[in-house]
């Protein structure tokens, strides 16, 4: 617990479909027993392919959707124990940056109003003070004063995301959850926004929870990274550990599926973990990856027993019966 500003323990989220004529209600487990800790001032990354539950996790952490079970602690406060009003008040310290900035900004408001709204909600300052703070934050994200009177649709994608970031930062929060903040942007602007986020972190002492699917971005941006697969946390480690020697076969698969911008390395046979079928049922008893896993596909242990999330190296946890087996095999080949 030492030094953790935000900690998530055994977080589970289930979605229920409604029963209708002749169909039974189904339960989809989007998050299954996810735990992690984020220390003050660091950037914690959550990566995984689409459908792995990243965005659900991001929303559950800030209670934008209500988790089914688990505990979320922020600065010693149990978030799930708060009533709606206290939670709203606490949001001042916990902010969210959305992937789709054009959707997340009310098109009928101009930038000045968008930036004043959070302050208004939390009763900060008077009208002039709020406007001043809005202007200040706008400059902080690299936009100019005269944009205060414009509406979101008058901006480019990158500028719009800067407005989204400014709106999150105008309250000077401590934790910012970034839900794929650059995925919707042009490649040319992605780096700019990423660097901006990094500068802001240094300047304002922010703690980030970064959701993404791009491993290269995660390696560049995050201090520690957790990998999600179908709602399960399969591995988590510091950036150095994870990117030098991933222990879980799924992480290895993610790395090897990533495009390599170097033709000389491309000749090597790509050993991807093929996703045969998007609806492939994850086994109820064994390892969730087992049907796709080059290591565990034919092993009985993997098919019958779910591997627990264990610390295999100092501060490097993985949920695998054969940690490191795949990366070692590939290294030998």
């Amino acid at each position: 617990m030492s030094g953790a500003l935000l900690s998530v323990e055994h977080l589970t989220k289930e979605f229920h479909t409604n029963a209708s004529f002749g169909r039974r209600a189904e339960v989809v487990r989007a998050l299954d027993d996810v735990s992690f800790e984020v220390r003050r001032g660091e950037t914690f990354g959550l990566v995984g392919e689409s459908g792995s539950g990243k965005s659900t996790l991001a929303r559950c952490v800030l209670r934008l959707i209500e988790p089914t079970a688990g505990r979320i602690t922020f600065d010693g406060i149990d978030l799930r124990a708060l009533d709606a009003k206290r939670m709203r008040r606490l949001r001042r310290r916990l902010q969210f940056v959305f992937q789709d900035a054009s959707g997340a900004l009310d098109p009928r408001m101009n930038v000045g109003e968008l930036l004043a709204e959070p302050l208004e909600i939390h009763g900060v300052g008077d009208r002039n003070e709020r406007r001043r703070r809005g202007r200040e934050t706008l400059e902080l994200v690299g936009l100019t004063n005269e944009m205060m009177d414009r509406r979101p649709h008058e901006f480019s994608g990158g500028q719009r995301q800067r407005v989204g970031i400014a709106r999150a930062l105008v309250l000077r929060p401590e934790v910012v959850v970034l839900d794929e903040p650059i995925s919707a942007l042009d490649v040319s602007v992605q780096a700019q926004v990423l660097n901006l986020l990094r500068d802001l972190q240094r300047e304002l002492g922010l703690t980030y929870v970064f959701i993404g699917h791009d491993l290269a971005v995660a390696e560049y941006f995050c201090d520690r990274v957790a990998v999600l697969y179908l709602g399960h946390q399969v591995e988590s480690a510091s950036r150095e550990q994870l990117f030098s020697r991933p222990l879980h076969p799924y992480t290895v698969g993610l790395f090897e599926a990533a495009p390599v911008p170097d033709p000389s390395r491309r000749s090597r046979q790509r050993r991807t973990i093929v996703r045969d079928d998007a609806d492939m049922p994850s086994p109820l008893t064994g390892c969730p990856l087992q049907p796709r896993c080059p290591v565990g596909r034919h092993r009985k242990l993997c098919a019958t027993t779910r591997p627990p999330l264990e610390e295999h190296e100092p501060r490097h946890v993985a949920a695998c019966h054969f940690p490191g087996a795949l990366i070692d095999e590939h290294a030998a080949a």
Binding site: F98, D106, P107
Partner: protein, 322 residues
Amino acid sequence: MVGRGDRWDHRAMSGALPDAPQRPGSQEPRDEARAPRVGDGRGRAWPRRLLRTDRQIAAALSILGALVIMAVLGPTLWRHSPTATYLADSLAAPSTAHPMGTDSNGRDIFARFIRGAGISISAGATVVFVGALLGGALGLVAGLARGIVDSVAMRVMDALLAFPALILAMAITIGLGVGIVSACAGLVLSTIPWYARLIRSEVLRVSQLPFIEAARAVGAAPGRIARRHVVPHVMPTLLVQAAGAFGYSIVALAALGFIGVGAQIPTPEWGAMITDGLPYTLTGQWWISVCPGLGLMLLVVAANLLADRVRDVLDPRGGYAR
């Protein structure tokens, strides 16, 4: 019905698109799909520009304006009483003394025509205003509350919609006792479901847009989200529906008057006047029915022309990119 595309072209050619003032520092290329459009409130001058360049709105508004001015100023300028009878002067053909002639009791049709315009416009506007207010509020509450409130409200609306609107209005009017006030009440009740259902579905759509979640993320309470983020987005839809219902309400009120359950005979209501004059059209005194009929037609056409353009100008779906 002219297609949306045609109309857009027509408007573009007649220069109705306001040229957004090019602000310094906006080198960013604008997204074509989000080009500035009429009525997004960018410039305060757009209503005037709209009037100058949009002939349909200009025509509709001039007819409506003329009828309103006539209804307001007419009674003071044209000193004949709409209800006083001069039996000696009955069934007089249009002349300089009586521009629209007189009816069987010698009442001046022009005075009645003027008063009738006021009745139709004010009663129609009242019906629309009250109906939109109640129906919109009901839809908003149902859409925001969901659950049992929503189900009950919508089943009641379904029940009301099961009857043809005019038949329902007629039944309610008769139930309350014939007269123009009960006719208005009947029409309000029979039009409430239109607004309620429409606004409810709009509220449901808007509620799941990302900026609502974003508002929650900054700590906005449900009441504030409804007020600041949901209502402004469903307002254009409500206005469009209300504009469309204005013409309908006027016709329906006249229809109720015509069949005798609305305004009663000495009241110079256009529908009742048409009924009043009907027997005389066979004997050649056409002006008693035709004059209020023409007035009604003019008013309803203007109302519908306006409503038709209101839809495009407010463009509830196009105000923001989805």
